[in-house]
């Protein structure tokens, strides 16, 4: 009787290790960027918007998102 092939997950989680504390693929990094963008926007509206306009939060999120996608 031929030996059966071990069952494998259909999609293997490939990724790389950057400055984030875990292995991430592109989708993970996009996800983290979106999550952080929303968090920054909400916190900005709550605490910072009296002093600085909201579009600055957008710029900060964009830069952070780029850093995460590039080196995360």
């Amino acid at each position: 009787m031929a030996q059966q092939e071990p069952v494998r997950a259909p999609v293997e989680h490939t990724g790389r290790r950057g400055f984030l504390p875990m292995k991430t693929n592109t989708f993970d990094r996009v996800f983290i960027s979106v999550i952080l963008t929303i968090a920054i926007g909400l916190l900005w509206m709550r605490f910072v918007e009296q002093y600085l306009p909201l579009w600055i939060a957008g710029v900060v999120s964009f830069i952070l998102g780029y850093i995460i996608l590039r080196w995360g």
Partner: protein, 291 residues
Amino acid sequence: MRSNRMGWRMLTPTLVILFIVGLLPFLYVLWVGFYDWNVFSAVRGMTWAGVNNYRRLVFDQDFLNSLGRTFQFTFIVVSVELVLGFLLAQTLVTPFRGRSFFRTIYVLPLVVAPIAVGATWRLLVIPGFGPVPYYLDRFFDYPFRIGTSATHAWLTLIVMDIWHWTPFVTLTLLAGLTALPKEPLEQALVDGANRWQVFRYLTIPMMMPVILTVVFIRFMDALRIVDEAFMLTNGGPGLSTRFVGLHIYRTVFPKTDYGYGSAMSLLVLYFTIVACWLLFIALTQVGKQRE
């Protein structure tokens, strides 16, 4: 290539249904969240509000409190249900007399609709009518009042949720425990490991995927609690059991503030996703570090 095309063809009905019942409503809520839409307001129809609904949200103390309360409730019930469910699953995995009968009786709460569970528990604990306050008062001289005591209302809701959902946790974990390979466990016992070591270093790691699934299902489910709390306490006394689902319901339906309600729902979805993601990272990283 051919099998790939066949796979997509087989998946198409599911994907179409998912798109219609999952993605389209989500996109609609996302869209409405950026508008002011109140059918009773002087302005007819929807007016563009940008991020104003979200700006209003981050200062809405009632909403933030209800969100905190919901997370607190979720954390308590999921932890208790997981521990209790695991213990019961461990008990039920070993054969004993009357096991099938006990299993049948035990899963009965699962088949009862949440709204009926809320109504039944209300009949049990309502002062002046229910047996729980009556017997507590009679035998222990303890006044149990869910209508006036926030602690009693909280406690009743927690016990009710645990009673309702522990069978689900038990059944799922039981399925996982039954499917575990026996050889490593027996081998460990032969090698001199005691039962605690087998449980700690073999059963728990092997059960981790099932535990993760159960925790996520229950976590997301507990965050959406509405009907049971609506029937049992209706968010009271005061705002002490007004969970976020109830809070949204009270904003959307009586006030018909659809834009703001959509923004609240999206924020709850956001927090649910973030919490689940963090939980997943924490649980899987702990497993990897142990390896």
